[in-house]
Structures are given as structure tokens and as C-alpha cells.
């Protein structure tokens, strides 16, 4: 059984009766059992997955209607609710929380006969970019287990890269899908803000976060997007995509497209190997008929500070609900005064979440809001205006997904500013609501490098076409695990 096939190949093979979903899912669970001790992608494995796949095989054999996924094994970041299963956000605060309802993306995937093989690791409450801030221990990069896999959707990227599932769902607030995709050599997609419902995603920073797929190929991302995108009455920030088919015309290529190279994203601090890969990607796109030209987005320099100011403010508000009274861990209320109980219970938050809550209380507070929060909102507005102007001239923008190569575990964990700056190339898409994708491009010294493409809002289809064209120009080695 070849577990390395793409989602589209899997669907075709099951449809044609060449493989059964049950066998494939069983082998996938065996794979998880054999490699996940080393990688720690999974927080929970769905023991009923084989039975669920068996039921789908029965439908295939009897000629009943079968959903588009045909029993495809998918992993889900553990901040997305699946009814009656644990959703911990990799936090001790929610260690025993069982979701009472399905997220909209889960409902849609269930309707299309996907099989969820398990919930995967993340930085606690998706706050981080290495998965080292998970309360249940870090995930490891399958390309070299001494290195971080990126984050916060690190478990998602590891599980796809190490063949522990075919696709995964993560969430991207400042690059949390694209960063681990780049570090683990998978495709990672952050859609236009509102394209995918956030209902059932445990909130961190509502105004900019989005659920996004991680897959082996760009076509698989388009396939997933066809299933999970669209309006949702439970999330009034969703936009009507008129049931766009992202897979059709995916071979359209980039001939005649104008691509802007964001100069602020390839400046000092960019690793020479990453810079060289970016230049190579640009010349490959030019060989395919695109025209590439440099463009300056001055506000990028301030984007990381604006991003952390805005997200910490929203996180401070969102995390206020974790008082341990309505839900949380086992900590009796007897003998405590109300406020001191909450403060004590919150000791179960990890260090990064605690820091961001404090910052989230500070930057919008009286006397400081004008200096920090309001200024951050103004940077966001100016950046959005500038990028909208850029898209009047260019069809797409290009930059490395992450300016550096994956780094060793523990290397940056005590240096918050060094960690902040890893996000410099990804937060722009979140602050402006634009779609962006990380495409696996090359391997340098055994570590992956991804290239990021961005498009204007609702130009997701055109973005996927360009990403597919770029993907076709490279042939990458297999993950060595």
C-alpha cells in the first residue's frame, strides 16, 4: 500500500476499486504508530477511523452516493471542534474539553466522507511558530528531528509530510499554516479572509485568522478548498464565492502574469540559501512566461509589531473566557474568592499564552492605546492600501515564505524578538486579508525551503493556478523518515 499518494490519486484509486478506504486508513494508523513516537504530530488518534472507512467502502461497493473524499484520512489541528471529541488547543486549561458541536469545516468534510484520523499538535492556543509552546511537548521536523517543524500548525504539517495522513486542516493567524508548510515541505494555504468559515475554530484573533489546508500538492489544496469554502450563516464574516471550482483550469499557468517581488521580504536577515531559492523561483516563473519586477511595501517593516499588537489585544479578550468556572480542568472552587480563583486557575496557561495575555491587556489600555493599538490599526490600514495599489499593477506577489531555514529546537525559544521576526514575510497576508500559499521549492542542507505567492482578495483561483505552475518546475526528494 502506497501511503505517499496525493488526495486526488487516493480518490481515484478508491473510486476504481484498486484500493479500499479501510485498508488505506488501517495502514495510515500503523504508520502513525510506527513514526509518531519520534515526531509527536498527534495529540489524539481516532480509534474508530478504520470502522468509519469500512462504512464508506460499503457505500462504494453498493453503488450508494459517496462523498468526494471517499474515506480520505485527514488530520485536524486541535483547535478545531469535532463533536464529542477532545479539543485541547494543546493547553492544560482545556485538557479535558470535549467539543459539543462540529466546526463548519468538519461538517462539510463529514458530508464528503472524509475520515479524521486524529487531532494534531499546535503551539498552545495557536500562539507560536515552532510548536515548542504546546503544553504536551513539541512536534519534530520529519526532515531532521532535531529541528522545529514550524508552527503553530506544526502537527498538521508533520502529519502530511511524514505520510501520517493525506491532508490536514490548520489555522493561520500570522503564517501558522504557511510557516510549518515551508519548514516541512508541504503545501500550506491561507485563503482570502472570509472564504472559509471559522465557526468551531477556537478563537485567537478573529479579525485576521483563517482555517487553511495543508496538502502534498497544490491540486489537493484546490480539492480541499472546493469542499470547505463558502458562505456560512454561523460566521457572518464569510464571503460568497459562488461555489467557485478551484480545481478547474488549474493548469492555466502564469504566461502573461505580472509578479511583484516584495523587496522588504528579501532584505538583510534573509538566509543566503533562501534568497538563492527565491531568485531561482522567480527565474522559473519568468521562463514560464511571467514578468517579474520589484515592488516596495514600506509598511512591511512595521507589520510584525502591528500584528503582535493587534493579535495580543484580541487574544486578551478571547482568553478572558477561560476562568475555569464554566469549563477547564479539575480545580475545586471551595475556599477561593472569585478573582483570586480565576488568577490561580490561569496558572495552567503556558508561558507564551500568559505573556500575550499580559500584552493584550497592556497595549489597548488607557494611556497606551494611542501609542500601540491604534497605531497598529493604522499600520494595518496603510499596509492594506499599499498592497491594494500593488495589485493594480501586479497579478501576484512573491517572497520566501520564511526568511530563514528551519532552526534547532530551543534555539530561539528564549528570544521573543528573534521569534517575532520569523513571521515577517507571512503576517502581511493576514493583516490585509489577502490569500497566500507556500509551495515546497527546494531542500538546502537537508532542510526544506518554501516559496510564498500572494494574490488580491478573492483571486484564490488564480493564485492556485500560479502555485501549481511553480510546483511543476521542481522535483523534490522524499522525506527521510
Amino acid at each position: 500500500m502506497n501511503l505517499k499518494i496525493s488526495a486526488l490519486e487516493f480518490v481515484q484509486e478508491v473510486k476504481n476499486g484498486n484500493i479500499s478506504a479501510e485498508d488505506f486508513v488501517a495502514k495510515t494508523l500503523e504508520r502513525i504508530q510506527s513514526v509518531d513516537d519520534k515526531l509527536h504530530a498527534f495529540l489524539h488518534v481516532n480509534e474508530k477511523a478504520v470502522d468509519q472507512a469500512h462504512e464508506i467502502d460499503k457505500k462504494v461497493k453498493s453503488g450508494d452516493r459517496v462523498g468526494a473524499c471517499f474515506g480520505m484520512p485527514i488530520s485536524i489541528k486541535d483547535n478545531i471542534c469535532i463533536k464529542d471529541s477532545k479539543t485541547t488547543c494543546a493547553s492544560k486549561m482545556l485538557e479535558n474539553f470535549v467539543a459539543p458541536y462540529d466546526a463548519t469545516v468538519i461538517t462539510k468534510l463529514k458530508e464528503q466522507d472524509a475520515v479524521f484520523v486524529g487531532k494534531v499538535n499546535l503551539d498552545e492556543f495557536a500562539m507560536g511558530l515552532t510548536t515548542e509552546f504546546s503544553a504536551f511537548g513539541p512536534s519534530k521536523n520529519p526532515w531532521n528531528t532535531e529541528y522545529v517543524p514550524g508552527g503553530s500548525s506544526g502537527g498538521s504539517a508533520v502529519s502530511v509530510s511524514a505520510f501520517e495522513c493525506i491532508a490536514s486542516l490548520g489555522s493561520d493567524t500570522g503564517g501558522s499554516v504557511r510557516n510549518p508548510a515551508s519548514f516541512c515541505s508541504t503545501v500550506g494555504y491561507k485563503p482570502t479572509y472570509g472564504l472559509i468559515s471559522r465557526y468551531g475554530l477556537i478563537s485567537y484573533a478573529n479579525s485576521i485568522e483563517q482555517i487553511g489546508p495543508l496538502t502534498r500538492t497544490v491540486k489537493d489544496t484546490a480539492f480541499m478548498l472546493n469542499i470547505i469554502s463558502g458562505l456560512d450563516s454561523n460566521d457572518n464574516t464569510t464571503v460568497d464565492n459562488k461555489n467557485e471550482d478551484y480545481l478547474s483550469e488549474i493548469d492555466s499557468g502564469v504566461e502573461g502574469k505580472k509578479i511583484g517581488i516584495i523587496t522588504e521580504m528579501i532584505e538583510e536577515g534573509t538566509d543566503p540559501a533562501v534568497l538563492s531559492a527565491t531568485k531561482d523561483a522567480i527565474s522559473k516563473l519568468e521562463n514560464l512566461g511571467a514578468t517579474c519586477e520589484e515592488i516596495s511595501l514600506d509598511m512591511v517593516k512595521y507589520s510584525v509589531a502591528a500584528y503582535y499588537t493587534i493579535t495580543a489585544t484580541e487574544a486578551g479578550s478571547n482568553l478572558a473566557r477561560y476562568d475555569n468556572i464554566r469549563y477547564g480542568y479539575d480545580f475545586p472552587v471551595e475556599g477561593y474568592e472569585f478573582n483570586s480563583y480565576i488568577a490561580k486557575a490561569r496558572r495552567n496557561f503556558g508561558p507564551e499564552v500568559t505573556r500575550r495575555m499580559i500584552i493584550g491587556g497592556f497595549v489597548p489600555s488607557t494611556g497606551h492605546a494611542g501609542k500601540y493599538f491604534l497605531k497598529a490599526l493604522k499600520v494595518k490600514s496603510k499596509l492594506t492600501r499599499d498592497i491594494n495599489e500593488a495589485f493594480k499593477k501586479f497579478d501576484l506577489l512573491i517572497a520566501p515564505t520564511v526568511p530563514i531555514l528551519p532552526f534547532k529546537m530551543g534555539e530561539k525559544i528564549d528570544d521573543p524578538i528573534a521569534l517575532f521576526l520569523v513571521d515577517i514575510n507571512t503576517v502581511t497576508a493576514n493583516l490585509t486579508g489577502k490569500p497566500a500559499i507556500s509551495v515546497p521549492f527546494t531542500i538546502s542542507n537537508g532542510l526544506p525551503i518554501g516559496i510564498q505567492l500572494l494574490a488580491d482578495s478573492m483571486q484564490d483561483k488564480s493564485l492556485l493556478q500560479a502555485a501549481h505552475a511553480l510546483e511543476q518546475t521542481v522535483s523534490l526528494p522524499e522525506v527521510p523518515i
Binding site: N236, A305, T309, R355, G361, Y372, K382
Partner: protein
């Protein structure tokens, strides 16, 4: 420049009780100091853009029954109540 006292005051307001107080204060201090870069962005005259959503675009405001007793899933559930600590 942010002072340690200001950070401590905010921690209290946010109902955060931490063991390694000094370590938290130092790191939060470093992070907030980094945000001073916003001062050189030159955006003072910039308007903050807002996205307006008309009420007609919102979901109808009606009761949707849930098929389970949600209160039973909550922590400290006692009969028809959730038990909370005493208010001072």
C-alpha cells in the same frame, strides 16, 4: 519606556497570577519595547479602515434549540447551576 510597575498592574487587571514574576515581566518588557518601532511608521494621519456589515447580512436572531443539555458539559455543574467561587 514601559515600567515594571505598569506591567504588574496590567497582570493583576487581567487576573494573571504567575510564579516566575521577574521572568515574565522581563520578557513582556522586551516585547513591548519592540513595539516602539511603530512610532517611526509615520501613520499618524492615517484613517483606521473599518469593515461595515449591514444588519440585513446577519443571521436571523432567533432561538435555535440544541439537542443536548450543554450545562451538563460544564465544569462545576450542580443540578441546574454552575458553581462559582464567592464574590468578595
Amino acid at each position: 519606556m514601559v515600567t515594571e510597575e505598569e506591567i504588574e498592574r496590567v497582570s493583576k487587571l487581567m487576573k494573571i497570577d504567575v510564579d516566575d514574576h521577574k521572568e515574565y515581566v522581563d520578557k513582556v518588557h522586551t516585547m513591548i519595547d519592540y513595539f516602539d518601532i511603530l512610532d517611526s511608521a509615520g501613520v499618524e494621519s492615517e484613517e483606521i479602515s473599518m469593515q461595515e456589515i449591514p444588519i440585513s447580512n446577519l443571521r436571523e436572531d432567533k432561538y435555535i434549540p440544541f439537542d443536548e443539555k450543554l450545562i451538563k458539559k460544564l465544569n462545576n455543574y450542580k443540578g441546574t447551576y454552575v458553581r462559582a467561587p464567592k464574590m468578595s
